[in-house]
């Protein structure tokens, strides 16, 4: 009988052990819904250009292309995932950085789970978007947007995002590249990271913000997890809709909001997160200074801004793309703990 009870305890322990991966990458993701939609956008009018016949598929019939008329421009693509067991009290929005898309959060260049899966597993209704001009949001013609898109060099993020040791660390021969010693970025998969990058315009901020506002008006109140340029958009949208944001997590926000408007965030809890090697890289030290000034302005107005430099809590080696670094799960847990501390987790 004692033996039998002992067996049962062993079995129970085994079950607990077997259940442990239920929180990790091997466990099923159960969703009560998923889908996508586009939001925002406007109809632009183009006039005065000549029509022409084009063949859209080699071998197919010709059809008319009329560059004039009305065009649907500047909508934003949003994909959402609703976990079967919802634990986040509000929707969680994920806004990516410049020259990137929502793919930032989906997976990692070396094929591990990204923050999307992790936060769904933590029970958040999660909405990932591609900012206007990027990815599945499409882009407008030169008749509508006067500027040209810019394209990232293959080596640019390597030297700029604290993957390599700054300028000169890149080499076309992977064996001769100089990654930052101790980096958590999966450098062997840098190729795959570069495949995620998309062209960007430098003149579309107002259109980007208009569609983010439309998303916020549809989905929020909510929590926002924003990265890099997405942080700058996040703070500017929060200044316009402060009642809609119950928490903002800004991961290496590059730049922040408009200083004069910072007091509007006095009732929005904010967390700013920076990775490793920041102070040694002038570009990131500059962004950090801008964010600190914004944080100070929010605090001066009575607001709450928490600040985590990851190395100071023992999490080392993180690049600007920390959601894809090898220890991305550890950082997700830091963010989750902060969100829970704001009363946003059931």
């Amino acid at each position: 009988m004692l033996h039998q009870t002992w067996s049962r305890l062993v079995c129970a322990a085994a079950l607990v052990f077997a259940a442990a991966p239920a929180l990790g990458a091997d466990a099923p993701l159960s969703l009560r819904g998923m889908g996508s939609f586009h939001i925002g956008g406007r109809i632009a009018n183009v006039a005065g250009k000549e029509t022409r016949m084009i063949v859209r598929q080699p071998g197919g019939p010709a059809s008319m292309l009329d560059p004039n008329g009305q065009f649907m421009v500047e909508p934003m693509y949003v994909q959402y995932f609703l976990p079967a067991e919802r634990k986040g009290r509000l929707p969680l929005l994920m806004w990516h950085g410049g020259g990137l898309t929502g793919v930032t959060f989906e997976s990692t260049p070396d094929g591990r789970e990204g923050w999307l899966n992790m936060f769904i597993r933590k029970g958040w209704d999660t909405y990932i978007s591609d900012a206007v001009e990027r990815g599945r949001s499409g882009f407008a013609s030169p008749d509508v947007w006067p500027s040209d898109p810019t394209f990232l060099n293959y080596q640019d993020p390597y030297e700029r995002f604290r993957i390599g040791e700054g300028e000169g660390s890149w080499n076309a021969d992977p064996a001769k590249r100089r990654p930052i010693p101790g980096t958590q970025f999966p450098v062997e998969a840098y190729d795959n990271y570069m495949k995620q990058t998309v062209p960007r315009w430098l003149s579309t901020d107002e259109a980007v913000i208009a569609s983010y506002v439309a998303l916020v008006d549809k989905i929020c109140p909510c929590a926002l997890l924003a990265h890099s340029q997405g942080g700058a958009f996040g703070f500017r949208v929060a200044e316009m809709r402060p009642d809609k944001f119950k928490a903002i997590v800004a991961v290496e926000s590059a730049t922040a909001g408009v200083l004069a408007n910072a007091p509007k965030l006095k009732d929005v809890p904010v967390l700013m997160v920076f990775g490793d090697f920041v102070d040694q890289h002038p570009r990131w030290a500059a962004f950090k200074k801008i964010d600190m000034e914004y944080a100070a302005a929010v605090r001066s107005a009575g607001g709450s801004v928490d600040w985590i430099n990851l190395p100071e809590i023992g999490i080392k080696g993180n690049s600007h793309m920390m959601m894809q670094d090898r220890n991305n799960a550890e950082i997700a847990d830091v963010i989750q703990k902060w969100l829970a501390g704001r009363g946003l987790v059931e």
Copy 2:
């Protein structure tokens, strides 16, 4: 006792009834995994252009933009969903049409579930991609691709995709538009459909095909569900990798493969599906004729091509975007039945 048995039967019936929505939009989607990756692509070299300083975010520090050097171009974005209860014997690839992205399959413009959710619910490991140049696959600079992108008029698909009654059916005032009587397209959500469209190039076919081949080499043997221009790519890729395709469902393929290569598909079961109003619209009659000639060439070589004109099996009113039409679930069932008939469903 009899009464008790009867109660049990009633309860069982109630459970069956309660379980019925498990096949529909309100039931949880249980996944054993999901994620995304990019595949294919190449490094392009650009030389001889001047460098310049740019500010990437208003208010941020300036940094150098060098248009020269190496660029990662022509990769393809792929998102995958693996159902917990797999029933499809092979992965199912979904390839969208021209000027569109994988969004085609995700949802409908009026917010219903798309074929992605439906085929996951049917138990298929499903891979949705954005063809090279489109959506999250990004696009290359004018230094790499010599041609310009083309942009669809707001009214173009309305008149061309058998939503409205052909040329002249569009009007900027929704009340004055002339949809085809009996159309299944959610015309009230046409705005949202147009938000899904993206610019396209007319000179990138070889790059598109190269990345599709890379995907097929990674994921297949598989089944392919292709729409419109995606069908043309599908047949051309299948001609290059006939052993990798165990079934091809071509939904209004616009155009087909290369006639001379059609015999290579002699061991690949093919289903061609066309919607309603095809013969009255010269453009679609032309595509249908091209597909019929290709089908005849495959059959002449001993291959098997099934053909369904939906109205002939009682499914009426379907536009070119049938996966978004109101009866999209009914058409998904027709396709599923055909796939099952090929022995591809457990």
